[in-house]
């Protein structure tokens, strides 16, 4: 394999990072800059298709992320996909390409682009955990998040299906825990790290979503967490926006800020709240940090 240096990645923000998850996009770029990684946004990228495409037509479900991978191959770079759904689709497409040569041919016919499997997708946690990146984080650490008890919530898509993601233990993942340790925070182990947050029912069955988010928040709070860290825009939106409804169902009040892991890393690297978009949250993300003298 050719070594890609200096560390450059094709950057695939997907739709969320340009809309509801702006702060994820912002903080991602802040962290990359701080650790000396160049993110090159894929020119002319398209929707990853999650999750409607692969439910409608298996080939379409492959072709949308397949084209994104082909674009990255043309750049000669691996892709970082911060959104867990985007990451899942890209990883699945690469897996499917290996199993269905006919898909690859059809894709080539439809888009005129070749797919050889030379580029792969990285999710943010894997990306942060790489030897070089995590070493750079350790080195650039300015403000360790001492005393901040954070529940690392992985959600369903980052680790599943294990045959496709080949990343961490699908039931008891630890990658985010490690990252939190690296930046000086205290990861809180809890039983609902990979439970479903209900995002896909976010419009049709809000009652169920509140129930599911409520369980996750309750488990995190009961385990002693003061905040939740995520690496998925859907998880963030759900956990952040439904705390009141979830609290009503659980008969309690939640007050857990829900941070993107990149926001916490950025914070530890000395970035300002403004740069990290910490003002864009629904559950106040600043008070806790101020209380801990971290912002």
């Amino acid at each position: 394999m050719t070594e890609k240096q200096p560390l450059r990645y094709a950057y695939y923000p997907g739709c969320s990072l340009h809309s509801t998850a702006r702060e994820y996009d912002l903080s991602m770029k802040v962290v990359a800059r701080a650790v000396g990684v160049e993110l090159v946004e894929i020119p002319d990228w398209n929707c990853c298709g999650a999750s409607s495409a692969h439910m409608t037509d298996p080939f379409l479900g492959f072709a949308l992320p397949g084209r994104v991978l082909a674009l990255a191959e043309e750049m000669g770079l691996d892709v970082v996909a911060p959104c867990a759904a985007c990451y899942g689709r890209l990883a699945a497409a690469r897996e499917e390409a290996a199993r269905h040569p006919d898909y690859v041919r059809r894709l080539e016919k439809a888009t005129g682009r070749r797919l050889s499997g030379s580029s792969r997708a990285w999710n943010v946690l894997e990306w942060l955990c790489q030897e070089r990146v995590s070493a750079a984080v350790r080195e650039a650490l300015k403000r360790p998040l001492q005393g901040l008890a954070v529940a690392p919530y992985y959600g369903c898509l980052l680790v599943r299906p294990p045959k496709v993601t080949r990343f961490d233990d699908p039931e008891r993942p630890v990658t985010m825990d490690r990252i939190l340790e690296t930046i000086g925070a205290a990861p809180v182990d809890f039983a609902f790290k990979t439970e479903c947050c209900g995002a896909s029912l976010g419009i049709s069955r809000t009652d169920l979503v509140s129930e599911l988010t409520g369980r996750i928040l309750a488990a995190a709070a009961d385990a002693g967490a003061e905040a939740v860290a995520v690496a998925c825009p859907l998880c963030q939106t759900n956990l952040d926006s439904r705390q009141e409804a979830a609290g009503l169902r659980q008969g309690r009040t939640f007050d857990l800020p829900v941070y993107y892991i990149t926001q916490l890393v950025g914070l530890a690297l000395g970035a300002s709240a403004r740069e990290l978009g910490l003002g864009r949250h629904l559950v106040d993300a600043m008070s806790l940090l101020r209380e801990k003298k971290l912002a």
Partner: protein, 667 residues
């Protein structure tokens, strides 16, 4: 050219009805080497056979071809005929013109043409066959039994009772195996040690049984009747001859570690016997944890031992034995429960395995039979038993059913309800499988009489909530998710092959399946034999089994050994591989492909241009070789050949069949 006689059978109308035997005979007469052709109505009948014998004498036949039915049916018959006529029986070739021709074709022309081809291939092969002699090998009437669990104990006792010497080798410091860890046995709720320990003692006392505990098999060489086995007797640190088994050393030893026998729910000392009824009742020193071995100071056991039996510097001893048969009874391991991250085994102290539960309810276990949960020693008011953890799970575990878990979990739930009268027992199951005598009744009783609550569904998650554990599952009968809060969870792990089963199989030269269970020679008809003659299987090393099945199989293996030992000599199949030493380059690439480890290097000396030269060649142990011929294909220069199916013979069959091209119906 050899003089060939061809005997064409009509088999009544079975062959003659479709094949024009007369026309085949006419053409066969013209084949090179054929000096005599005869048709018979039934060649296998007595007159038919007599006619062959007569023709052999009258026509000085050197090779015989019988064209009739499948050789799988009558090859032995006609070989005997040849022998009776004073001819080497392996000068026979059969042409299968019934099963492969007259019975499956309808067109007389086509069938006749094909029959002729079949006969002519047989003639080509016969012209190149050779006289073969079966060998004879002696039998050492002593058996080796590997593994001292209930399977090994039963096999050893049965063989010994039949009057033969037995060597019983056990890896652990005591015999007894898994059964010794159990409290009671289903469905009768007999106390496990009450029925096992007498057998253990019988083993130790039997004049025909030599017991090597804390010992492992190192090497096996040889073949049926003549195995040379090497056993490593690990250093116990204790002189067994002097030790009285008083147990004082164990009482005084200052080091406490987790007990393997108690599966981590109890402790033992660094000098220990696994349990009080151990056989032999002589302790071993666990060097890894012994303070003296670690720091050079302590020696308390040595000081307190009145028999002066402690030997810190004792070394392993190597024992070599010659045996005629081997019974493998090495047992099983349990599935690694931490594979199921969602169940929290290893994370939550009150999620335990069935075997740990077995130790908790055992009156001689660490809690003296009181069920207390590990986290706070409280008596659990509710317990969930989860079946099929690893079993029947293609994704994370193994595909097969482990056979015993349903029944022992039913037993556990019943026992729990007996001991904790107001407790609730939940069993999460996929199916309850009760195929054994009185098993279903036992299961019914657990529900009707003991109020065990059965929930059909495999849990998706177990998590802690305060002091409780929550088991989440789908109740597939109600079609609805359920969450049950309990104080303790017991997981029933799949039975899996011993971790080193593959290595053991390779040492023994027996085959194993994709999981690592040892393979029987035939799943129906040879369930206790292996493909390696003289090696037999007993118990769970072959696949998951409960105690009754294990004991039955052990008895069967012992009977096979006794039957083998009832003869003084064995005859061996002569159709085996052999080496042309002049050709053999000694590369030995034939060696790895031999399923029977029958090929070894041998040094030969020869004179070349006035000089004496030694070199290595392959050599075949005819006692081990079963005649598969895999080696012949690995051999590039053709030095390795297979008697009865030589390269020359196969090529002749191909060449003569295709010597001239003609429409198949062109006879």
């Amino acid at each position: 050219m050899k003089r060939v006689g061809v005997f064409l059978c009509w088999c009544g109308s079975n062959i003659a009805g479709t094949v024009d035997v007369g026309r085949v005979a006419e053409k066969v007469r013209l084949l090179p080497g054929v000096v005599y052709v005869e048709e018979n109505k039934y060649t296998c009948s007595e007159p038919g056979q007599a006619s062959i014998m007569k023709a052999i004498k009258e026509h000085d036949l050197e090779r015989v071809v019988v064209a009739s039915c499948s050789p799988r049916l009558h090859e032995p018959t006609f070989r005997r005929t040849l022998e009776a006529a004073g001819m080497n029986p392996y000068h026979l070739e059969m042409a299968n013109i019934r099963e492969h021709c007259s019975w499956v074709h309808t067109d007389r022309e086509e069938a006749t043409a094909k029959a002729f081809d079949i006969v002519r291939m047989a003639v080509a092969k016969a012209l190149r066959n050779e006289a073969l002699q079966p060998g004879r090998i002696s039998i050492e009437k002593k058996a080796l039994v590997l593994g001292g669990g209930i399977a090994g104990i039963q096999a050893a006792l049965d063989i010994a009772d039949a009057g033969h010497q037995v060597i019983l080798v056990e890896r652990e410091p005591t015999i007894g195996g898994r059964m010794a860890q159990l409290d009671k046995t289903f469905p009768t709720l007999d106390c496990s040690s009450c029925i096992l320990t007498p057998k253990m003692v019988d083993c130790a006392k039997h004049p025909n049984i030599t017991l090597y505990t804390y010992s492992e098999l190192e090497k096996v060489e040889g073949y049926i009747g003549n195995f040379n086995v090497t056993i490593r007797k690990k250093a116990r640190g204790v002189d067994e001859a002097l030790c009285t088994g008083c147990g004082l050393c164990q009482t005084k030893c200052p080091v406490k570690v987790d007990s393997e026998f108690d599966v981590g729910v109890g402790k033992r000392k660094a000098i220990y016997t696994p349990f009080p009824q151990a056989v032999p009742n002589k302790p071993v020193i666990d060097k890894e944890n012994c303070r003296y071995h670690k720091t050079g100071k302590c020696r308390i056991c040595e000081r307190v031992c009145e028999a002066k039996a402690i030997r810190f510097d004792q070394e392993d001893t190597i024992i070599e034995e010659k045996v005629g048969a081997i019974v493998v009874a090495t047992g099983f391991d349990l599935f690694d429960l931490e594979t199921y991250g969602e169940y929290g085994y290893g994370l939550y102290p009150d999620v335990i395995s069935s075997l740990q539960f077995e130790r908790l309810i055992n009156a001689s276990g660490p809690t003296e039979g009181k069920i207390r949960r590990p986290s706070d020693q409280e008596v659990p008011r509710s317990v969930a038993f989860v079946l099929c953890v690893g079993s029947r799970d293609d994704q994370k575990g193994v595909s097969y059913c482990s056979r015993a878990c349903c029944m022992y979990s039913v037993k556990h739930a019943t026992q729990y309800r007996e001991k904790v009268k107001d407790g609730r027992a939940f069993v999460f199951y996929m199916d309850i499988r009760t195929p054994g005598k009185a098993y279903e009744e036992f299961y019914r009783r657990s529900s009707v009489d003991y109020g065990v609550e059965y929930i059909r569904g495999r849990p998706s998650k177990i998590y802690q909530k305060g002091k409780k554990l929550v088991v989440r599952a789908e109740d597939t009968l109600l079609g609805r998710p359920v969450e049950v809060e309990v104080d303790m969870v017991v997981l029933a792990p799949a039975m899996v092959p011993k971790h080193d089963a593959a290595k053991m199989a390779q040492t023994l030269g027996v085959s194993y399946d994709g999981y690592g269970f040892l393979n029987e020679a035939h799943p129906k008809l040879r369930p206790v034999e292996t493909n390696t003659a003289g090696i037999y299987l007993a118990g769970a090393c072959q696949g998951p089994k409960d105690i009754p099945d294990t004991v039955a199989q052990a008895g069967a293996a012992a009977a096979k050994v006794a039957a083998l030992f009832s003869q003084d000599e064995l005859t061996t199949e002569p159709m085996v591989a052999r080496v042309d030493e002049a050709l053999c380059s000694g590369c030995l690439w034939c060696k790895p492909v031999c399923p029977y480890k029958a090929i070894e290097a041998k040094t030969i000396t020869e004179r070349v241009a006035g000089r004496t030269v030694t070199r290595e060649v392959a050599s075949v142990n005819v006692g081990l070789c079963q005649g598969c011929g895999a080696c012949t294909v690995a051999c590039r220069d053709g030095a390795m050949n297979l008697a009865g199916f030589t390269n020359d013979q196969v090529l002749a069959e191909v060449d003569d069949l295709l010597a001239d091209l003609r429409p198949a119906c062109g006879v």
